[in-house]
Symmetry: none
């Protein structure tokens, strides 16, 4: 799985990393139960500090995306995790995105098409 970080971005490194891993899980690039690289390894590969990766893993763990097993390191979490707050949060984010798209002249049908394209890339199954 290819991860690319933009050092000059506004979004913090640990968040960029977190996002890319989440997408990797959803697309199936990171299979369920698959072992993630070690903190040190990933930090070295990406040329960033171990603490940054550490923080990312802790965040992903806290959000239920991965599980950290003392014996074998970090793995993709096997269970789908439904969060009650997630719907509200999702709706809020989506509303903003749709508002921006609308103002820029994208109509609903083109938006839905875009969604379909993106969904077709997601192969994650429970």
């Amino acid at each position: 799985m290819i991860i690319s970080l933009q050092l000059d971005s506004e979004t913090p490194l640990f968040e960029q990393l977190r996002n890319q891993i989440v997408i990797g899980i959803a697309t199936g690039e990171l299979a369920e139960q698959e072992k993630l690289p070690s903190v040190r390894q990933l930090a070295e590969d990406l040329g960033i500090n171990t603490m940054t990766v550490n923080k990312t893993y802790a965040l992903l763990k806290q959000q239920g995306y991965i599980v950290i097993d003392r014996r074998h390191g970090a793995k993709v979490s096997p269970t789908a995790h439904e969060s009650p707050n997630h719907s509200a949060e999702l709706e809020e984010q989506l509303q903003l995105i749709i508002a921006q798209a609308t103002i820029r002249g994208m109509d609903q049908s083109r938006f839905q098409t875009l969604c379909s394209q993106i969904f077709s890339r997601m192969t994650y199954q429970h």
Copy 2:
């Protein structure tokens, strides 16, 4: 138009404000050409620093959502502006949202329904 800011949120105040104004434009609560309150006025109403509102307005202007006229203050921008980078950015944001929704077990049809509901609230026309 009602604006509510969460002081303890992760999202900076100016960004919360910016987002709510963008949504206001898309839903039509803020009509095209409509005059926005003055920086001072809005800052006072919201109980925040004028610098923060100032930053918000500057950002909205830079992103093309409003125009700032020295004599008449800030107005909702009359024209839709297709930004070249916007679609790339949109797709990226959407991908992340969809990834998260997928992992949490929401399927495409439910997602599309949610989008439709949100679109039906948007009345902005060019």
Copy 3:
């Protein structure tokens, strides 16, 4: 409020600090809405690194004990936060403590007395 950290303890500094702040809230030493010292200030007072205090604050925030206001720093959270998982967790911890007390010969009545004494120190009200 007096905070004392044991550098040679098994419990990490950030956790010791977190625990003492939680107790401070419950006893009322830290009143509701009361402002906590700044990260830098507290770090300096305790002779530890700012990141350690930072981590503590982030943890307390995530657990709902404090609220971080961008304008004024960290404050004791005004609302009581009931967590559904808390009961289970509480019971588990309590069971272990009671088991140990039992084996060491403390009977229920002495245990309850001890609880009462501790409760009488807690003045936190919602």
Copy 4:
């Protein structure tokens, strides 16, 4: 006696194991003088490393919960052992638990009821 370990828990395996054995003793599931399984046996049953079980037994011995006889293996310790530091430690742990419960809105009477329920499960006698 059923022992269940969570590999993804914050608490180290040896500590989880230690805690469950202590509770087993207090509830009487492990009777006084009862022989514990051998290190190898238990490790195999639980699917963990023998070093981990070894460490657990050494800890339990050091804390006086079991005695280890070279010829007959580990047995539940026959005598109750009042440790001088224990009451201080107990009080500290209890204070933290009560603080958290208080903040989350549990009052003393409900707490005491919970304690009673737990005590009723403990059948250990000296």
